[in-house]
Symmetry: C2
Subunit: 200 residues, 2 copies
Protein backbone atom coordinates (compact mmCIF):
# COMPACT_ATOMS: atom_id res chain seq x y z
CA UNK A 1 0.00 0.00 0.00
CA UNK A 2 1.25 3.45 -0.95
CA UNK A 3 0.24 6.27 1.42
CA UNK A 4 0.53 9.87 0.21
CA UNK A 5 0.42 12.79 2.65
CA UNK A 6 0.06 16.19 1.04
CA UNK A 7 -1.60 19.55 1.59
CA UNK A 8 -1.18 23.26 0.95
CA UNK A 9 2.20 24.96 1.50
CA UNK A 10 2.85 25.81 5.11
CA UNK A 11 0.25 23.46 6.56
CA UNK A 12 2.91 21.49 8.44
CA UNK A 13 3.28 18.32 6.36
CA UNK A 14 6.95 17.87 7.31
CA UNK A 15 6.29 18.35 11.03
CA UNK A 16 3.45 15.84 11.04
CA UNK A 17 5.46 13.31 9.01
CA UNK A 18 8.42 13.68 11.36
CA UNK A 19 6.21 13.19 14.45
CA UNK A 20 4.65 10.13 12.85
CA UNK A 21 8.04 8.48 12.26
CA UNK A 22 9.65 9.75 15.48
CA UNK A 23 7.00 7.82 17.44
CA UNK A 24 8.93 4.78 16.23
CA UNK A 25 6.15 2.19 16.04
CA UNK A 26 5.37 2.72 12.38
CA UNK A 27 5.30 -0.40 10.25
CA UNK A 28 5.66 1.40 6.95
CA UNK A 29 8.64 2.92 5.16
CA UNK A 30 9.27 6.58 4.48
CA UNK A 31 10.33 7.19 0.90
CA UNK A 32 13.27 9.61 0.82
CA UNK A 33 12.97 12.34 -1.80
CA UNK A 34 15.61 13.19 -4.38
CA UNK A 35 16.72 16.78 -4.91
CA UNK A 36 19.24 18.85 -6.82
CA UNK A 37 19.55 21.47 -4.09
CA UNK A 38 22.72 21.52 -1.98
CA UNK A 39 22.61 19.79 1.43
CA UNK A 40 22.11 22.15 4.37
CA UNK A 41 24.19 21.83 7.54
CA UNK A 42 23.56 18.47 9.14
CA UNK A 43 21.62 17.00 6.21
CA UNK A 44 22.87 13.62 5.06
CA UNK A 45 22.63 11.98 1.65
CA UNK A 46 20.27 8.99 1.77
CA UNK A 47 18.75 10.13 5.07
CA UNK A 48 17.23 13.57 4.53
CA UNK A 49 17.36 13.46 0.73
CA UNK A 50 19.16 11.78 -2.07
CA UNK A 51 21.34 14.67 -3.26
CA UNK A 52 22.07 14.46 -6.98
CA UNK A 53 23.23 16.76 -9.78
CA UNK A 54 20.81 18.53 -12.09
CA UNK A 55 22.09 16.37 -14.97
CA UNK A 56 21.41 13.17 -13.01
CA UNK A 57 17.89 14.30 -12.04
CA UNK A 58 17.01 15.25 -15.60
CA UNK A 59 18.33 11.90 -16.83
CA UNK A 60 16.04 10.19 -14.28
CA UNK A 61 13.04 12.16 -15.55
CA UNK A 62 13.91 11.26 -19.16
CA UNK A 63 14.25 7.57 -18.27
CA UNK A 64 10.88 7.45 -16.47
CA UNK A 65 12.56 6.82 -13.11
CA UNK A 66 10.64 9.45 -11.11
CA UNK A 67 7.23 8.65 -9.62
CA UNK A 68 6.64 12.41 -9.30
CA UNK A 69 8.75 15.54 -9.39
CA UNK A 70 8.54 19.31 -9.48
CA UNK A 71 10.88 22.26 -9.84
CA UNK A 72 10.96 24.97 -7.18
CA UNK A 73 13.28 27.97 -7.43
CA UNK A 74 15.64 26.31 -9.92
CA UNK A 75 15.90 23.05 -7.98
CA UNK A 76 14.23 19.71 -8.66
CA UNK A 77 12.50 17.68 -5.95
CA UNK A 78 10.93 14.29 -6.52
CA UNK A 79 10.35 10.65 -5.59
CA UNK A 80 12.52 7.96 -7.21
CA UNK A 81 10.31 5.16 -8.50
CA UNK A 82 12.85 2.40 -7.79
CA UNK A 83 12.81 2.62 -3.98
CA UNK A 84 9.00 2.81 -3.90
CA UNK A 85 8.57 -0.23 -6.13
CA UNK A 86 11.21 -2.31 -4.34
CA UNK A 87 9.66 -1.57 -0.94
CA UNK A 88 6.13 -2.33 -2.14
CA UNK A 89 7.37 -5.55 -3.78
CA UNK A 90 8.91 -6.62 -0.46
CA UNK A 91 5.40 -6.40 1.04
CA UNK A 92 5.95 -3.20 3.04
CA UNK A 93 3.79 -0.07 2.88
CA UNK A 94 5.42 3.14 1.63
CA UNK A 95 4.71 6.63 2.96
CA UNK A 96 5.28 9.74 0.81
CA UNK A 97 5.10 13.32 2.05
CA UNK A 98 4.98 15.53 -1.03
CA UNK A 99 3.58 18.73 -2.53
CA UNK A 100 0.10 18.85 -4.05
CA UNK A 101 1.34 18.85 -7.65
CA UNK A 102 3.40 15.75 -6.96
CA UNK A 103 0.43 14.07 -5.27
CA UNK A 104 -1.64 14.56 -8.42
CA UNK A 105 1.12 12.91 -10.49
CA UNK A 106 1.07 9.93 -8.10
CA UNK A 107 -2.71 9.79 -8.31
CA UNK A 108 -2.46 9.49 -12.10
CA UNK A 109 0.12 6.66 -11.87
CA UNK A 110 -1.12 4.82 -8.74
CA UNK A 111 -4.88 5.19 -8.38
CA UNK A 112 -4.90 2.55 -5.58
CA UNK A 113 -2.71 4.66 -3.30
CA UNK A 114 -4.29 6.28 -0.22
CA UNK A 115 -4.32 10.09 -0.48
CA UNK A 116 -4.45 12.11 2.73
CA UNK A 117 -4.90 15.89 2.62
CA UNK A 118 -3.58 17.82 5.62
CA UNK A 119 -5.94 20.72 6.25
CA UNK A 120 -4.99 24.07 7.80
CA UNK A 121 -6.45 24.29 11.32
CA UNK A 122 -8.39 27.45 10.55
CA UNK A 123 -10.17 26.23 7.44
CA UNK A 124 -13.27 25.11 9.32
CA UNK A 125 -13.12 28.10 11.65
CA UNK A 126 -13.15 30.45 8.70
CA UNK A 127 -16.93 30.81 8.70
CA UNK A 128 -17.00 31.49 12.42
CA UNK A 129 -14.24 34.06 12.11
CA UNK A 130 -15.84 35.75 9.12
CA UNK A 131 -19.13 36.21 10.92
CA UNK A 132 -17.31 38.90 12.91
CA UNK A 133 -16.17 40.67 9.77
CA UNK A 134 -15.54 43.95 11.52
CA UNK A 135 -12.52 42.54 13.29
CA UNK A 136 -10.42 42.04 10.16
CA UNK A 137 -9.59 44.15 7.14
CA UNK A 138 -11.61 43.35 4.04
CA UNK A 139 -8.49 42.61 1.97
CA UNK A 140 -7.27 40.08 4.53
CA UNK A 141 -10.69 38.42 4.59
CA UNK A 142 -10.96 38.27 0.80
CA UNK A 143 -7.46 36.86 0.43
CA UNK A 144 -8.22 34.18 3.02
CA UNK A 145 -11.51 33.24 1.32
CA UNK A 146 -9.76 32.94 -2.03
CA UNK A 147 -7.08 30.74 -0.51
CA UNK A 148 -9.68 28.62 1.30
CA UNK A 149 -11.62 28.05 -1.92
CA UNK A 150 -8.42 26.94 -3.62
CA UNK A 151 -7.53 24.60 -0.73
CA UNK A 152 -11.00 23.06 -0.68
CA UNK A 153 -10.80 22.45 -4.42
CA UNK A 154 -7.47 20.65 -3.92
CA UNK A 155 -9.02 18.53 -1.16
CA UNK A 156 -11.56 17.08 -3.61
CA UNK A 157 -8.80 15.00 -5.21
CA UNK A 158 -7.95 13.20 -1.96
CA UNK A 159 -9.46 10.26 -0.11
CA UNK A 160 -9.15 11.66 3.42
CA UNK A 161 -8.87 15.07 5.08
CA UNK A 162 -7.02 15.39 8.39
CA UNK A 163 -7.06 18.71 10.24
CA UNK A 164 -3.66 19.78 11.56
CA UNK A 165 -4.99 21.53 14.67
CA UNK A 166 -2.52 19.69 16.89
CA UNK A 167 0.35 17.59 15.51
CA UNK A 168 -0.66 14.71 17.81
CA UNK A 169 -4.25 14.72 16.51
CA UNK A 170 -3.07 14.79 12.92
CA UNK A 171 -0.67 11.88 13.57
CA UNK A 172 -3.47 9.87 15.21
CA UNK A 173 -5.77 10.58 12.28
CA UNK A 174 -3.17 9.35 9.78
CA UNK A 175 -2.49 6.21 11.86
CA UNK A 176 -6.23 5.48 12.03
CA UNK A 177 -6.57 5.83 8.25
CA UNK A 178 -3.64 3.48 7.58
CA UNK A 179 -4.96 0.83 10.03
CA UNK A 180 -8.42 1.07 8.54
CA UNK A 181 -7.20 0.89 4.93
CA UNK A 182 -5.41 -2.37 5.78
CA UNK A 183 -8.84 -3.86 6.56
CA UNK A 184 -10.22 -2.99 3.11
CA UNK A 185 -11.66 -5.98 1.31
CA UNK A 186 -9.94 -4.90 -1.92
CA UNK A 187 -6.58 -5.15 -0.12
CA UNK A 188 -7.10 -8.46 1.74
CA UNK A 189 -9.08 -10.19 -1.01
CA UNK A 190 -6.08 -11.29 -3.12
CA UNK A 191 -4.69 -13.22 -0.10
CA UNK A 192 -8.00 -15.01 0.45
CA UNK A 193 -8.41 -15.78 -3.24
CA UNK A 194 -4.90 -17.17 -3.46
CA UNK A 195 -5.56 -19.36 -0.43
CA UNK A 196 -8.71 -20.73 -2.00
CA UNK A 197 -6.81 -21.36 -5.22
CA UNK A 198 -4.11 -23.21 -3.27
CA UNK A 199 -6.50 -25.54 -1.46
CA UNK A 200 -8.97 -26.25 -4.24
CA UNK B 1 -23.19 7.79 8.04
CA UNK B 2 -24.76 4.34 8.04
CA UNK B 3 -22.52 1.49 9.27
CA UNK B 4 -23.52 -2.08 8.47
CA UNK B 5 -21.95 -5.02 10.30
CA UNK B 6 -22.68 -8.41 8.79
CA UNK B 7 -21.06 -11.78 8.19
CA UNK B 8 -21.81 -15.48 7.91
CA UNK B 9 -24.12 -17.17 10.43
CA UNK B 10 -22.42 -18.09 13.68
CA UNK B 11 -19.45 -15.74 13.21
CA UNK B 12 -20.36 -13.79 16.36
CA UNK B 13 -21.93 -10.59 14.97
CA UNK B 14 -24.21 -10.14 17.98
CA UNK B 15 -21.41 -10.65 20.51
CA UNK B 16 -19.15 -8.14 18.75
CA UNK B 17 -21.97 -5.59 18.42
CA UNK B 18 -22.85 -5.98 22.10
CA UNK B 19 -19.20 -5.54 23.16
CA UNK B 20 -18.96 -2.45 20.95
CA UNK B 21 -21.97 -0.80 22.60
CA UNK B 22 -21.25 -2.09 26.13
CA UNK B 23 -17.94 -0.19 26.03
CA UNK B 24 -20.18 2.87 26.28
CA UNK B 25 -18.06 5.45 24.45
CA UNK B 26 -19.74 4.95 21.09
CA UNK B 27 -20.98 8.10 19.39
CA UNK B 28 -23.33 6.34 17.02
CA UNK B 29 -26.78 4.83 17.43
CA UNK B 30 -27.74 1.18 17.27
CA UNK B 31 -30.78 0.61 15.11
CA UNK B 32 -33.17 -1.79 16.85
CA UNK B 33 -34.58 -4.50 14.60
CA UNK B 34 -38.27 -5.30 14.19
CA UNK B 35 -39.53 -8.87 14.44
CA UNK B 36 -42.72 -10.90 14.49
CA UNK B 37 -41.32 -13.55 16.82
CA UNK B 38 -42.50 -13.58 20.42
CA UNK B 39 -40.31 -11.88 23.05
CA UNK B 40 -38.15 -14.28 25.07
CA UNK B 41 -37.81 -13.97 28.84
CA UNK B 42 -36.28 -10.64 29.73
CA UNK B 43 -36.55 -9.16 26.23
CA UNK B 44 -38.19 -5.75 26.10
CA UNK B 45 -40.08 -4.09 23.26
CA UNK B 46 -38.13 -1.11 21.92
CA UNK B 47 -34.90 -2.31 23.57
CA UNK B 48 -34.05 -5.75 22.20
CA UNK B 49 -36.51 -5.60 19.30
CA UNK B 50 -39.64 -3.87 18.19
CA UNK B 51 -42.11 -6.72 18.58
CA UNK B 52 -45.00 -6.49 16.11
CA UNK B 53 -47.64 -8.74 14.59
CA UNK B 54 -47.18 -10.52 11.28
CA UNK B 55 -49.95 -8.31 9.79
CA UNK B 56 -48.16 -5.14 10.95
CA UNK B 57 -44.81 -6.32 9.54
CA UNK B 58 -46.35 -7.24 6.19
CA UNK B 59 -48.10 -3.86 6.04
CA UNK B 60 -44.70 -2.20 6.66
CA UNK B 61 -43.15 -4.18 3.80
CA UNK B 62 -46.04 -3.22 1.48
CA UNK B 63 -45.71 0.46 2.42
CA UNK B 64 -41.94 0.53 1.77
CA UNK B 65 -41.20 1.14 5.45
CA UNK B 66 -38.48 -1.52 5.82
CA UNK B 67 -34.86 -0.75 4.89
CA UNK B 68 -34.23 -4.51 4.76
CA UNK B 69 -35.98 -7.64 5.98
CA UNK B 70 -35.90 -11.41 5.80
CA UNK B 71 -38.02 -14.34 6.95
CA UNK B 72 -36.47 -17.07 9.10
CA UNK B 73 -38.48 -20.07 10.34
CA UNK B 74 -41.84 -18.36 9.82
CA UNK B 75 -40.83 -15.11 11.50
CA UNK B 76 -39.91 -11.79 9.94
CA UNK B 77 -36.86 -9.80 11.01
CA UNK B 78 -35.93 -6.41 9.60
CA UNK B 79 -34.85 -2.79 9.99
CA UNK B 80 -37.53 -0.07 10.06
CA UNK B 81 -36.59 2.74 7.69
CA UNK B 82 -38.10 5.49 9.84
CA UNK B 83 -35.73 5.26 12.81
CA UNK B 84 -32.69 5.03 10.53
CA UNK B 85 -33.71 8.09 8.52
CA UNK B 86 -34.66 10.16 11.58
CA UNK B 87 -31.35 9.38 13.29
CA UNK B 88 -29.30 10.13 10.17
CA UNK B 89 -31.27 13.39 9.66
CA UNK B 90 -30.43 14.43 13.24
CA UNK B 91 -26.74 14.18 12.26
CA UNK B 92 -25.95 10.96 14.13
CA UNK B 93 -24.38 7.84 12.65
CA UNK B 94 -26.44 4.66 12.66
CA UNK B 95 -25.10 1.15 13.25
CA UNK B 96 -26.89 -1.94 11.88
CA UNK B 97 -25.99 -5.54 12.73
CA UNK B 98 -27.81 -7.71 10.21
CA UNK B 99 -27.67 -10.92 8.17
CA UNK B 100 -25.88 -11.03 4.81
CA UNK B 101 -29.09 -10.99 2.76
CA UNK B 102 -30.25 -7.88 4.58
CA UNK B 103 -26.87 -6.24 4.08
CA UNK B 104 -27.18 -6.70 0.33
CA UNK B 105 -30.64 -5.03 0.42
CA UNK B 106 -29.09 -2.07 2.28
CA UNK B 107 -26.23 -1.94 -0.23
CA UNK B 108 -28.78 -1.60 -3.05
CA UNK B 109 -30.64 1.23 -1.26
CA UNK B 110 -27.73 3.03 0.45
CA UNK B 111 -24.55 2.66 -1.59
CA UNK B 112 -22.79 5.28 0.61
CA UNK B 113 -23.12 3.16 3.76
CA UNK B 114 -19.99 1.51 5.18
CA UNK B 115 -20.14 -2.29 4.93
CA UNK B 116 -18.06 -4.35 7.36
CA UNK B 117 -17.80 -8.12 6.98
CA UNK B 118 -17.00 -10.07 10.13
CA UNK B 119 -14.77 -12.97 9.15
CA UNK B 120 -14.55 -16.33 10.94
CA UNK B 121 -11.23 -16.60 12.80
CA UNK B 122 -10.22 -19.76 11.00
CA UNK B 123 -10.73 -18.53 7.45
CA UNK B 124 -7.12 -17.46 7.01
CA UNK B 125 -5.83 -20.50 8.91
CA UNK B 126 -7.67 -22.82 6.58
CA UNK B 127 -4.73 -23.20 4.26
CA UNK B 128 -2.38 -23.96 7.10
CA UNK B 129 -4.79 -26.49 8.57
CA UNK B 130 -5.39 -28.16 5.23
CA UNK B 131 -1.70 -28.68 4.62
CA UNK B 132 -1.92 -31.38 7.30
CA UNK B 133 -4.79 -33.11 5.57
CA UNK B 134 -4.25 -36.40 7.37
CA UNK B 135 -5.54 -34.96 10.63
CA UNK B 136 -9.11 -34.39 9.44
CA UNK B 137 -11.65 -36.43 7.55
CA UNK B 138 -11.94 -35.64 3.86
CA UNK B 139 -15.68 -34.83 4.14
CA UNK B 140 -15.02 -32.33 6.91
CA UNK B 141 -12.27 -30.71 4.84
CA UNK B 142 -14.37 -30.51 1.70
CA UNK B 143 -17.34 -29.06 3.57
CA UNK B 144 -15.09 -26.42 5.15
CA UNK B 145 -13.54 -25.50 1.79
CA UNK B 146 -16.98 -25.13 0.22
CA UNK B 147 -18.13 -22.95 3.07
CA UNK B 148 -14.95 -20.84 2.91
CA UNK B 149 -15.38 -20.25 -0.82
CA UNK B 150 -18.95 -19.12 -0.18
CA UNK B 151 -17.85 -16.80 2.66
CA UNK B 152 -15.07 -15.26 0.57
CA UNK B 153 -17.53 -14.63 -2.25
CA UNK B 154 -19.83 -12.82 0.20
CA UNK B 155 -16.90 -10.73 1.43
CA UNK B 156 -16.39 -9.26 -2.05
CA UNK B 157 -19.56 -7.18 -1.60
CA UNK B 158 -18.20 -5.40 1.50
CA UNK B 159 -15.85 -2.48 2.04
CA UNK B 160 -13.92 -3.90 5.00
CA UNK B 161 -13.15 -7.33 6.45
CA UNK B 162 -12.57 -7.67 10.20
CA UNK B 163 -11.40 -11.00 11.62
CA UNK B 164 -13.26 -12.09 14.74
CA UNK B 165 -10.30 -13.87 16.35
CA UNK B 166 -10.86 -12.04 19.64
CA UNK B 167 -13.94 -9.93 20.34
CA UNK B 168 -11.71 -7.07 21.53
CA UNK B 169 -9.69 -7.08 18.29
CA UNK B 170 -12.84 -7.11 16.20
CA UNK B 171 -14.33 -4.21 18.22
CA UNK B 172 -11.09 -2.21 17.79
CA UNK B 173 -11.11 -2.90 14.05
CA UNK B 174 -14.69 -1.64 13.71
CA UNK B 175 -13.92 1.48 15.78
CA UNK B 176 -10.87 2.21 13.60
CA UNK B 177 -12.94 1.88 10.43
CA UNK B 178 -15.64 4.25 11.74
CA UNK B 179 -13.09 6.86 12.86
CA UNK B 180 -11.29 6.65 9.55
CA UNK B 181 -14.49 6.85 7.48
CA UNK B 182 -15.37 10.10 9.27
CA UNK B 183 -12.18 11.60 7.78
CA UNK B 184 -13.22 10.75 4.22
CA UNK B 185 -13.20 13.76 1.93
CA UNK B 186 -16.55 12.69 0.44
CA UNK B 187 -18.08 12.92 3.95
CA UNK B 188 -16.53 16.20 5.11
CA UNK B 189 -16.67 17.95 1.73
CA UNK B 190 -20.33 19.06 1.93
CA UNK B 191 -19.56 20.95 5.17
CA UNK B 192 -16.63 22.76 3.58
CA UNK B 193 -18.57 23.55 0.44
CA UNK B 194 -21.48 24.92 2.43
CA UNK B 195 -19.10 27.08 4.45
CA UNK B 196 -17.58 28.49 1.28
CA UNK B 197 -21.08 29.13 -0.08
CA UNK B 198 -22.01 30.93 3.14
CA UNK B 199 -19.02 33.26 3.14
CA UNK B 200 -18.77 34.03 -0.56
Amino acid sequence: MLIVLSGPSGVGKGTVRKALFDAGDTDFQYSISMTTRKPRDGERDGVDYFFVSKEQFEANIRDGEMLEYAKYVDNYYGTPLKYVNETLDSGKDVFLEIEVNGAMQVRANCPDAVFVFLTPPDLMELKHRLINRGTEEIEVINARIKQAVSEIKMMRNYDYAVVNDEVENAVNGIRTIIRSERLRVTRVMPDYEQMIGDVE
